[in-house]
């Protein structure tokens, strides 16, 4: 089946098996290996990307379900060589160790901050519930999301 999916702003068209998972489309067909796979039960969130502005687990969607849609992956977070505030915050707050969960964590964090620009710690922890990290114990990830919120607030203030 032919699918056309806009990924990080670029239109992609490929002939795929109907059963091809979106995550495999991103990783194997497009070579965007920043999106990871950590489970087979929709449990870990390592594969989280945004589809039409919503955080989704790309291991649980078929590529054909994203046909005509817009996908944003970790590779699309930085713009013009400028790290996204969430990326900066994860770096500054030591929000990653092995870094395997990190792309999914950051994509979920982005969704949290879109919904709650000034999130409480509870909102952050509950927002991250679908993403597993085995390395950090979450504390520095939570700190990173808080720091990102402050950065993004500052940026928005500047823009206003």
């Amino acid at each position: 089946m032919k699918v056309t999916i806009t990924v990080n702003g670029a239109k992609t068209t490929h002939d795929v098996e109907p059963r091809l998972l979106l995550v495999h489309y991103l990783r194997d067909v497009l070579g965007l290996t920043g999106t990871h796979i950590g489970c087979d039960t929709t449990s870990c969130g390592a594969c989280t990307v945004h589809l039409n502005g919503l955080a989704v687990k790309s291991c649980t969607l078929l590529a054909v379900q994203a046909d005509g849609g817009e996908v944003r992956t970790v590779e699309g977070l930085a713009r013009n060589g400028q790290l996204h505030p969430i990326q900066e915050a994860f770096w500054e707050e030591h929000g990653l160790q092995c870094g395997f969960c990190t792309p999914g964590m950051m994509m979920t964090a982005l969704q949290i901050l879109e919904r709650h620009p000034k999130p409480t710690e509870d909102q952050i922890r509950h927002g991250l519930e679908g993403n597993l990290c085995r390395c950090t114990g979450y504390q520095h990830i939570v700190n990173a999301v808080q720091a990102a919120a402050r950065k993004m607030e500052g940026q928005n203030a500047k823009r206003r």
Binding site: T33, L83, C98, R134
Partner: protein
């Protein structure tokens, strides 16, 4: 020389930019042209004889290039070795073929492999391999496995007992005879699944021209992988290159060399095309090692004043179906020798039976033997406190090895390097506001609320370790650290290390050390690891060893370069080497600082070699192997407070306070991260995680839906602090920090929960303290008092 600018600073990690932008290369991200994909056909039975394998349909499936069964490989590949041959325990190592060729002994054991043009075709075809089995009775529990009449797994392992290991120190019999208090308690350290977020993977490529085989693999120790693969593949090591690219967590589970690693390498060699295999999570739960799984009977002898006299016990350690790479050493050397904990217990008598069962093999999982030991001894202290009516903090203080007694040799014969246990405990008690909590607890109890506080004053053995000791305890390798420091003509520094960090941050902390030591800019230092073709022989990253032994090698190599530079500088400056001082990256003549050369200038001169002093070789490169004189012994005091909700059995974590002492700290931010992650893994053992098998050997918790890895809302914000007691024998005064959190926290939480339940007369429950288990225990005690 001054340890100056960067040591101790909160430097951001230099590996992060590639990880946060999605550009990092993990093993499954390695893409090679013409790659084939392998899928493993696995046993659905815990114990069965293979009667027939028919792969004809699989072979005909579109895209399939090859199918191999265990019988096809039996003569081609050597069995998977076990590499920790603990002496003096009648160790038996049963044969473990790469693919089962006669019998399967656990669910998930590989019986065949299918190779196809893409992942999906390989998976489809694996389903088409028809394997006929004749099921055999299985045994899952390690105590049952040793009983007469139990199904036997291996003909050469009688009673399913692979070893019986004993440690004795002091006179336990006399101590028990003299005791006022003797407590007997049965404990379990339940089976856990490591759950590195990246499952395992391997990709191999054979160069037809050179015969060289390159294997990318999720490994914590690429040199060990090369060593073992050369044995299994019957191939010389110099034709093998093993690369561990970015590795998404290991926690011990990526130490072992696995059958699939050998398979993928074999297939690439055999088929002349690159081959990739990537584990899915279900396979990871069935075919990657598990951890813990001990059943222990422990007796504790104490005096009525709380003095701990002796421990006597017996543990049945479940090893799973085969002896994984390091398996025999974990419940013995890394466990039994640490049983006395931080205390002046004068006698220990302890036997460990290593038992094979029809379950996934068990090996090192974060802490590896030490969390199990800490759980036993820290629970024992609290049981003594409860029995004697003393405060658990006071019992600890009365039994701590005093600061002035270090180096201190425990009954098991190992010697702790340094410690100041009182100070760490005092700090933790202050942070958690111990007295206030006790008052709050008393008031809450009157109101029918169950609060508890648990302490864990742990000590651990790490920084593995002196190679002669490794040899003496049967570890089939050295345990030194290694580093090559090479300065390029322009003065940039490459540091190749034999360890293989994968998230622990040594690419940053070692650059901090080197920049300080050589007086060069941080940006000019690159740390290289994870590739056998680029790094000196080294033993990998585990056992909280990398920072400790790796830094020993790094500073030794740096110092050799400084010494060489001094010779060259003296020659060029026409001074005696004794008069040349090195500081902040400059060699200068004592007393005349204007006569000086930078280390970069000297490096250029060393590289050009136009004018070197007699006897000095060209080049600015040094390799050092650092074999530590002893292990290091980090310690600390953790305190946890909980509330148990009697109506639901739920355990609520209120506060978690950790005071750790890992000696001097290179980068506090990274140390905090290690501590947090470790604590949460230990909390998980206490509250959430357990690998459960049914009686037939089916893993009931075979997915992340069924096995409870902690999530962000389930863990508290941790409060950390440190004391600093340098290791006296380490060149930088370092101790390890990678496992302390896990070693300490399970016991802290367990003690807190038991403290909360004490008014109900509950003195012991097995972990994990799930609401169901706690609720049942409360119900069995009858009415919850108002």
């Amino acid at each position: 020389m001054a340890v100056s600018r960067l040591f101790g600073a909160r430097v951001k990690r230099r590996d992060d930019p590639q990880l946060i932008t999605g550009k990092a290369t993990f093993t499954d991200d390695v893409t090679l042209p013409g790659v084939l994909y392998a899928a493993v056909v696995r046993s659905p039975h815990a114990h069965a004889r293979i009667t027939r394998i028919d792969a004809s349909r699989a072979r005909r499936h579109p895209g399939v290039r090859a199918v191999f069964t265990g019988r096809d490989l039996a003569d081609r590949l050597a069995p998977m070795p076990c590499a920790w041959l603990v002496p003096g325990c009648e160790l038996k190592v049963p044969r473990r073929p790469v693919l089962a060729d006669d019998r399967v002994r656990h669910v998930g054991e590989g019986v065949a492999v299918v190779v196809a043009e893409d992942r999906y075709a390989a998976r489809d075809a694996a389903e088409l391999v028809a394997v006929s089995y004749e099921p055999l009775p299985a045994v899952i529990n390690q105590e049952e496995a040793t009983r007469a009449g139990a199904p036997r797994l291996h003909d050469d392992v009688p009673d399913n007992t692979a070893f019986t290991w004993t440690t004795t120190g002091g006179d336990a019999r006399a101590a028990f005879a003299a005791a006022d208090v003797v407590i007997h308690q049965r404990f379990t350290n339940q089976r856990l699944i490591p759950n590195a977020m990246e499952a395992r993977a391997a990709t191999a490529h054979a160069n037809p021209a050179t015969g060289e085989l390159t294997v990318w693999v999720t490994s914590q120790n690429p040199h060990i992988h090369r060593f073992v693969l050369s044995i299994v593949l019957k191939m010389p090591e110099h034709k093998l290159r093993v690369i561990a690219p970015e590795v998404g967590g290991g926690f011990g589970s990526k130490i072992p060399v696995y059958p699939e690693d050998a398979l993928v390498a074999f297939l690439a060699r055999e088929l002349g095309r690159p081959v990739k295999w990537t584990e899915d999570r279900r396979e990871n739960y069935l075919a990657t090692i598990h951890g813990r799984d001990h059943i222990t009977d422990l007796e504790i002898a104490a005096r009525s004043d709380g003095t701990l006299l002796a421990l006597r016990g017996r543990t049945y350690a479940n090893l799973g179906a085969y002896l994984s790479l390091a398996a025999p050493g974990i419940p013995t050397i890394l466990h039994g020798l640490m049983l006395a904990g931080a205390y002046t217990i004068s006698a220990v008598e302890y036997t460990v039976h290593g038992v094979v069962t029809n379950t996934t093999p068990v090996d090192a999982y974060r802490g590896a033997g030490r969390p199990e030991a800490t759980y036993l001894v820290e629970r024992a202290v609290d049981l003594v406190a409860a029995k004697t009516g003393l405060d658990p903090a006071e019992v600890r203080r009365r039994n701590f090895i005093p600061k002035e007694k270090f180096p201190y040799t425990v009954p098991a014969g190992i010697t702790y390097d340094s410690g100041d246990y009182d100070v760490a405990l005092a700090r933790a008690l202050a942070m958690v506001d111990y007295e206030a909590f006790r008052r709050e607890q008393a008031a809450a109890r009157k109101a029918g609320r169950y609060l508890g506080l648990g302490l864990s004053t742990y000590v651990e053995i790490c920084g593995l370790g002196p190679s002669p000791v490794a040899g003496a305890v049967g570890f089939q390798g050295g345990l030194y650290g290694s580093a090559t420091v090479r300065m390029a003509p322009t003065g940039k520094v490459e540091v190749m290390i034999g360890e293989s960090p994968h998230g622990q941050g040594e690419e940053t902390t070692f650059a901090q050390i080197v920049a300080d030591r050589l007086g060069v800019p941080f940006e000019d230092v690159e740390i290289v690891s994870g590739d056998t073709a680029r790094t000196p022989m080294g033993w990998g990253t585990y056992g909280s060893r990398t920072t400790v032994v790796g830094s020993g090698a790094v500073v030794t190599a740096c110092d050799r370069l400084i010494e060489k530079g001094r010779q060259i500088a003296a020659h060029l400056l026409e001074a005696s080497p004794d008069d040349v001082v090195f500081q902040d990256g400059r060699f200068s003549v004592r007393g005349s600082p204007d006569r000086s050369k930078s280390i970069q200038e000297i490096t250029l001169q060393a590289t050009l070699a136009w004018n070197l002093p007699a006897g000095v070789e060209p080049g600015m490169e040094a390799t050092a192997f650092y074999d530590p004189p002893n292990f290091v012994y980090p310690f600390g005091a953790h305190a946890c407070t909980v509330e148990v909700v009697p109506e639901t059995g739920e355990v609520r974590l209120l506060r978690y306070v950790a005071v750790d002492d890992c000696g001097r700290v290179i980068n506090p931010m990274i140390v905090d991260g290690q501590v947090h992650g470790g604590i949460v893994q230990g909390i998980a053992q206490a509250l959430l995680e357990e690998a459960v098998y049914d009686r037939n050997g089916q893993l009931l918790t075979a997915s992340m839906l069924d096995y409870a890895v902690p999530r962000a809302p389930q863990v508290p914000r941790m409060e950390t602090d440190r004391t600093v007691t340098p290791s006296p024998h380490h060149p930088l005064g370092l101790k390890g920090i990678g496992e302390t959190g896990t070693i300490a926290s399970t016991a802290a939480v367990a003690n807190a929960v038991m403290d909360a339940l004490a008014p109900l007369g509950i003195t012991h429950l097995d972990m994990p303290y799930t609401p169901r288990r706690v609720w049942h225990a409360i119900q069995q005690r009858g009415e919850v008092r108002p």
